[in-house]
Structure formats: structure tokens, C-alpha cells
């Protein structure tokens, strides 16, 4: 059991071809092509329901999460960069006024205090989320190890960091990644939560512009909102497989 298994740290995560059900923020990971042939994704395409309760509330005393308006699926393609001081990423949601809503994913090194040693790590996210003062439960619930390359999907159930359902409206999703030391890439897109489905793609900028020379860390960031439906109990939750 190595550091790689710190994937265990993740709250709700990441199983190949798993349908997202039952609870708050799910992250799904599509295996790289080399192993995809053995994955059952095609047989059980995710059929996201609204996510029942239980988001990643920020404190133990937080109220039970409410059912959100539906499910937002955020998908991105990650490439592992071969250099040091890179491959840290965070994904988070803001409201239309730029107010922090919640974090869906943050690489565990930075999320768990690596910013002390590397203050240039994920600056935008840490500032917005005021991460240095985030409660331990929130840190534990979103921090995850660096992901493998491939297509990853995160699910946001439309609740905020305390588990309360957010109102209908426009929300901004961000993916920030460090490409090399202070160099970063920042994706920003807007998704509308309401009664209708909505999809969008995120725009990106390199910070500074020369960071583009570091290589592509993240690309193809998109979001898809599916209005709420009753949780379908026939949906597969996960797969058992050899490990």
C-alpha cells in the first residue's frame, strides 16, 4: 500500500465506468485507452440521477444535504506533465457573483497544506476558497492524489460546501492546474442550473501566457447539467473487480 493508494483519501470517487448515484460529489475516471478494453463503461453508461443527499458538507454539524436541482457533470482530459512542481489541480464552483460555492476536487498535496512549502500552488483556488481556513472535514472530503492521465469526470450535485442546495441560476466552474512552479492554466466556464438541461465548454488562459510552453496539463473541459430526477435504483453504483 503505497502513496498511490492515498486515493483512499478521496471522499467519493473514481471508479471506472461507474454510474454516479446516491450522493454528492462523484469523480469518475475513464481509464487510459490501454486499459479501456477491459472496462465495462460501455455496458453501464453513467446515468446520473440528481444525487440524493449528502454532499461534502463542511462541518460535522452541517445540516443534512438537500437534494439539488440536478447533477452537473464536469469532464476534462488530464495529461501528466513530466516535470516537477506540476500536476496539481483543483476544480471548484462559484456563483454568478464570484462567491465560493464548493470544491469538487483538489490534489492532496496542495489541499493538505503543501501550499506552505509551495505557496505558488493553485493560488486562484486557494484564494477563492479561503482554503487555509477550510475545516478539516472539507479538506478531507475533497483532497485526492494526483490523477492518472485520461478523461476524468466530476459530479456536482448542486449543493454548496455546507450541503445546502443552491438556487437556480448561473454558476462558474473552474479548473486550475500548476504546469511548472508558479505557472498555471485556468479554465473557466459557466453552467446554468434550472429546469432545462444545459451544456457548456470552458475557456482557458495560461498564467502567465508563457506557461503554455510547459505543456498541456488539462484540456477539453466541459460541463453538462441534467435537471433533477428521482434517483434510479437500477443504476449501477460501482463495479467489483480484481485489485
Amino acid at each position: 500500500m503505497s502513496d498511490r493508494s492515498i486515493r483512499l483519501v478521496v471522499p467519493l470517487v473514481v471508479v471506472t465506468g461507474v454510474a454516479a448515484v446516491a450522493t454528492g460529489t462523484h469523480a469518475l475516471h475513464s481509464e487510459p485507452a490501454a486499459t479501456a478494453a477491459f472496462s465495462p463503461q460501455g455496458a453501464a453508461a453513467p446515468s446520473p440521477g440528481p444525487g440524493a443527499p449528502s454532499g461534502t458538507a463542511s462541518t460535522p454539524a452541517a445540516p443534512a444535504a438537500e437534494a439539488g436541482l440536478g447533477l452537473v457533470r464536469i469532464t476534462y482530459r488530464l495529461h501528466r506533465l513530466p516535470q516537477i512542481a506540476s500536476n496539481q489541480i483543483a476544480v471548484w464552483i462559484e456563483d454568478a457573483n464570484g462567491g465560493y460555492v464548493r470544491t469538487l476536487f483538489a490534489t492532496s498535496f496542495t489541499a493538505n497544506g503543501g501550499y506552505v512549502r509551495r505557496p505558488e500552488s493553485l493560488v486562484e483556488w486557494r484564494t477563492t476558497a479561503e482554503w487555509e481556513s477550510a475545516p478539516p472535514e472539507e479538506v478531507e472530503s475533497v483532497s485526492r492524489p494526483a490523477q492518472d492521465g485520461g478523461v476524468h469526470t466530476l459530479y456536482w450535485d448542486g449543493t454548496d460546501r455546507t450541503g445546502r442546495a443552491v438556487p437556480a441560476g448561473d454558476y462558474t466552474y473552474h479548473v486550475e492546474g500548476n504546469t511548472y512552479w508558479e505557472n498555471r492554466v485556468l479554465f473557466t466556464g459557466t453552467i446554468t442550473l434550472g429546469e432545462e438541461p444545459h451544456t457548456s465548454s470552458a475557456e482557458h488562459e495560461y498564467l502567465p501566457a508563457a506557461a503554455e510552453q510547459d505543456g498541456v496539463l488539462v484540456e477539453d473541459v466541459t460541463a453538462e447539467f441534467s435537471p433533477g430526477e428521482p434517483l434510479d435504483p437500477s443504476v449501477l453504483t460501482t463495479y467489483t473487480r480484481g485489485s
Partner: protein, 301 residues
């Protein structure tokens, strides 16, 4: 544990508790960190080593399974795994030099390993040369423990999945958790299970965590304690549905070791209530008759 975890159906406090326990298990049981209990016990050359209560509890249970299985399940195969090249985090295992042959196993299994477990201190001493690897067993053991804690805490429903080893529970009137059984050679699942109210499902496979040595021989992490070599039966993958995840993990491993012919009969003798699904080298799926109670046919397209 080199795996990913899905926690579903629990509130934030429950999630944090589960992940905290699994993180603690990672710290205690890793073979690849020098300060883990496992590494310190293995390096102690027979001297008593102070360990955490979790370590003594898991090791004692593993030893009980070893005894009950007649040694077919063996938690002391760390030296064999190192000899085969699995001596670091699996993500870092690459092509390794051709492994030397396993030392000959004494007829009849030889003398049982000497393991002294003192739960009071707590401390553990292994006979010199013996090295423990609770590996996949402790993953299931820790998940089962975490699930038990959440159930006792009153969580009405939950599912914890650590890399395909799954513990799930629900109220009697609740909708069943449905899980797929991945087929190692096919994109369609080997089956879909609607789990009973309290269930544990573990799968062992020789397809995952495989690597090659420089001579081209394919190796994998399921070592047959009878030979010291990777399991070589006709069973590529075995899934067991039981009441306890640590036991299910042991049973699934033993099915892979014994193959699709002898394995099911052995399991019926160990735990008649356990249900199973195997996939052989030709991709053929077999399952226990009682699994029909839970089997839902193929996954939905």
C-alpha cells in the same frame, strides 16, 4: 492500497470517518513506507515490535483465516512478492529481471510460521525471515471495519468501495445497491448483483496488477503459497459475496488459487452461505446457484 475509493450514501461526517480509518490503515499496513507497522515488523528480525491495535487485530484475523484455510490463504508472502519484483508501489513496478525460482516448499507446508501477537501491549514478533504482507486482505478488513462503525453509528445506508472490494448496507425496505461484476476479458460485465441488506463483495484477479520480467514471463500479485509462484489455475477472476469483506477477500483469493474446478467445492465447505462468480481463461463465467437470488442478468446498455 494502490486503489481508489468510492463512498456513497454517507453524510460528510461519515465520509470523513471512513476515509480517516482507511488512511490510518494505509499508514499502518503499507509495505512500502519504512515507518509502517508492517515494515517495522518485517525488519525486526524476530524481535518484538510495538504496533498499533489495528495491526494486531488485522494480523490475528489473517492468521485465523490462514489456519482455517489450511495455509491456502497466506499473509506471509511478502518475501515472495519482493522476489517476483513487486517490491515497491505497484505504479512503479516495471519490467523486472527474471525472478529466481521460489525456494522449495517443504512437503506438507513445513512448520507453521511462528507469530506472536500480544494484544495487550500491543506488539508482534515474527520468526526471523518471515515477512508479513496483509495487502488485499487488509483493504477488505479495513473497509469492513469502517462499514461496521458507520452501521453502529446509525447510518441507515451506505456503500464503501475500495478498488472493487465493497461493503454495503441498507434498511430492509430500501432499494438494493446494485453493482456490476467486471469481466476481465469483455466490456460487458460478468454479472450484476442486487445486494442483500448487508453484503460484502470481493474480487481477486490475475489480470490486474500484472507485470513482466525481462524474459517476458507475465507475473502478477496473487502468489500461490504452495509454490511461491504466481497463481496458475484456470481461474482468471473470482468474485465472492459474503457477510464479511475480509472473509470474502480470502475466499476470492483461494478460488483463484484453486481454479474453477476445485475452488467452489472448497468454498462450499468453508462458508456455505457465500456466493461466487468465476471467470476462466476462456472468458467463461460460472456462478453459484444461490447467486441467482441476487443476480440480475446483464447490465443495462
Amino acid at each position: 492500497m494502490g486503489t481508489t475509493v468510492l463512498v456513497a450514501g454517507l453524510d460528510a461526517t461519515g465520509q470523513a470517518a471512513v476515509l480517516g480509518l482507511l488512511r490510518e490503515a494505509e499508514r499502518i499496513f503499507s509495505r512500502f513506507t519504512a515507518d509502517s507497522d508492517t515494515s517495522r515488523v518485517n525488519a525486526a528480525a524476530g524481535r518484538p515490535t510495538r504496533v498499533s491495535p489495528l495491526f494486531t487485530a488485522a494480523l490475528a484475523e489473517a492468521c485465523a483465516h490462514q489456519a482455517a484455510s489450511g495455509g491456502l490463504f497466506d499473509p506471509f508472502l511478502a518475501a515472495d512478492l519482493v522476489r517476483l519484483g513487486y517490491d515497491r508501489d505497484f505504479a512503479a513496478v516495471r519490467s523486472v529481471p527474471a525472478a529466481p525460482a521460489a525456494p522449495p516448499r517443504p512437503a506438507g507446508g513445513g512448520a507453521p510460521p511462528r507469530v506472536r501477537i500480544d494484544h495487550g501491549v500491543p506488539e508482534v514478533a515474527l520468526s526471523p525471515g518471515l515477512a508479513v504482507d496483509l495487502g488485499g486482505f487488509v483493504k477488505g478488513w479495513a473497509v469492513q471495519r469502517a462499514a461496521g462503525e458507520r452501521m453502529r453509528a446509525g447510518a441507515p445506508r451506505g456503500l464503501i468501495d475500495a478498488g472493487g472490494d465493497i461493503a454495503a448496507w441498507r434498511g430492509p425496505g430500501g432499494a438494493p445497491w446494485r453493482i456490476g461484476v467486471e469481466h476481465p476479458l469483455d466490456t460487458a460485465p460478468a454479472g450484476v448483483l442486487a445486494l442483500p441488506p448487508v453484503a460484502a463483495v470481493a474480487t481477486s484477479s490475475v489480470v490486474r496488477r500484472g507485470w513482466r520480467d525481462t524474459a517476458g514471463a507475465r507475473l502478477h500479485h496473487i502468489v500461490d503459497p504452495r509454490t511461491g509462484a504466481p497463481a496458475d489455475s484456470d481461474c482468471l477472476q473470482a468474485t465472492v459475496l459474503a457477510a464479511d469483506l475480509a472473509a470474502a477477500e480470502v475466499y476470492a483469493t483461494c478460488l483463484v488459487l484453486l481454479g474453477t474446478g476445485d475452488g467452489p467445492a472448497w468454498l462450499a465447505g468453508r462458508d456455505p452461505a457465500a456466493a461466487w462468480i468465476t471467470v476462466d481463461r476462456d472468458g467463461r463465467v460460472r456462478r453459484s446457484a444461490d447467486l441467482d437470488l441476487h443476480h440480475e442478468g446483464a447490465a443495462r446498455p
